[in-house]
Structures are given as structure tokens and as C-alpha cells.
Amino acid sequence: MPIYPVLAVLAAIVVVALELAHFRSGIFRRRSYWVAMAIVLGFMIVVDGWLTKLSAPIVFYNDANTSGIRPVWDILLEEYAYAFALLTMVILLWDRSAPSTTDTARPS
């Protein structure tokens, strides 16, 4: 079993569990979160695609430890789970420390 996809999916599950059990920000029910993530996904494909393209990689992987599945621009499938975990965790911490005097974390 290759380790990178296993750990990436595990990280994503941990972040979802943290939101549901601890943070309870309700972010997964907000339109703003999904719209922002869709925009970020578009830019991720450009940036990550540039970083990991097989023709001239800046970051390269040991194929034995990855899924080897590269559906778009050579980006490994597990990179999407990895990015989801990284960025959602940052957003959860950002919303948690929202100043109470403003409505930065307003639902929309």
C-alpha cells in the first residue's frame, strides 16, 4: 500500500472529523466555503501542475509511494486530499480567531 495517498486521505478525514466534533463552524454548509474552494482548485491545478509536471518536475515523487494516478496535468490524485486538508485546516483556525466585534465569520 503506497504511503502518500493513505496519509493524504487520512489527513483529510482528520480535518473533517475536527470540524464535526470540535470546531463546529458549519463551514461545510456555507456557500462561500465551496465557492472559494472551487476557485482555489482552479489555481491549484495551475500551480501544482507546474510544480509536479513529469516533463520538468520541481517536486518529484517516488512512484512506489504514490497512487500513480495523475488525471489532470500530472497532478497526483492524492494531492487534492492533501490540499483539502491543508487549506480547510487553515480556514478553520482563521474562523475560530475571528474578531468578535466584526462579522468576518458571517454565514453566507
Partner: protein
């Protein structure tokens, strides 16, 4: 010049998202304490993972496209920039989208007042 590729890509991300702070009123750069509190713990966790995985040989960095400063285990310093810049770009996007949906960006206000 090729060795600046990774650094340049990260700087480009920060420069391209900078207008979100002002035209879309994101207020991410202008809350430095809150920004550090959200980005730093996550970056540290992913950097430890990164150093471990690089050391194991799960992934590596092309010396042709990196400036050549590496940390023990072989992780390049550009990774520190990555785990800082990309979360900042994401927060700018999120706050810009929130303001857009609420109709409160300076850009929207300006267009309404015209």
C-alpha cells in the same frame, strides 16, 4: 534563472492575490496576528510531515529549479514559502468571496455609487 522557478511561482501567487486584500476588502494581510495564528500551526505540522517524507525518499526537489538551500533531510527552504503563501492566497480568496456574496467589497460599493 531556472533555479528561481519555485520561489518565483510562490511570489507570483502572493502578488496576483494582493488586489483581493484591497479591491475586495479581504483584510487578511491587515490582521497579522490572526493570520499567524491560523497559518503557523498548520504550516509547522505540514513542514514536519514534509521533512519526514523527504528524508524517507517519498518525494524530493529538483536542484535545477530550486535555489539550493536545504534543511536536514533534503527539504528545500522553498517549502516554507509554499506552506505560508498558499494558505494566505486561500484566505484572501475566501474573504473576497464572502464579501462578494454579501455585496460589501469596496469594488462593488464603488460600482454602485457611480
Amino acid at each position: 534563472m531556472d533555479r528561481l522557478q519555485y520561489v518565483a511561482l510562490m511570489i507570483a501567487c502572493l502578488v496576483l492575490t494582493l488586489p483581493l486584500e484591497f479591491a475586495f476588502g479581504a483584510r487578511v494581510w491587515r490582521q497579522p496576528k490572526r493570520l499567524i495564528r491560523s497559518v503557523l500551526p498548520v504550516a509547522l505540522f505540514f513542514l514536519v510531515w514534509d521533512m519526514w517524507a523527504t528524508n524517507r525518499g517519498d518525494w524530493g526537489f529538483n536542484p535545477q529549479y530550486t535555489i539550493g538551500w536545504t534543511l536536514p533531510g533534503g527539504m528545500v527552504v522553498e517549502e516554507i514559502l509554499f506552506f505560508t503563501a498558499i494558505p494566505i492566497c486561500t484566505l484572501l480568496t475566501l474573504e473576497a468571496v464572502r464579501n462578494m456574496l454579501a455585496g460589501t467589497t469596496p469594488l462593488q460599493r464603488w460600482l454602485r455609487e457611480r
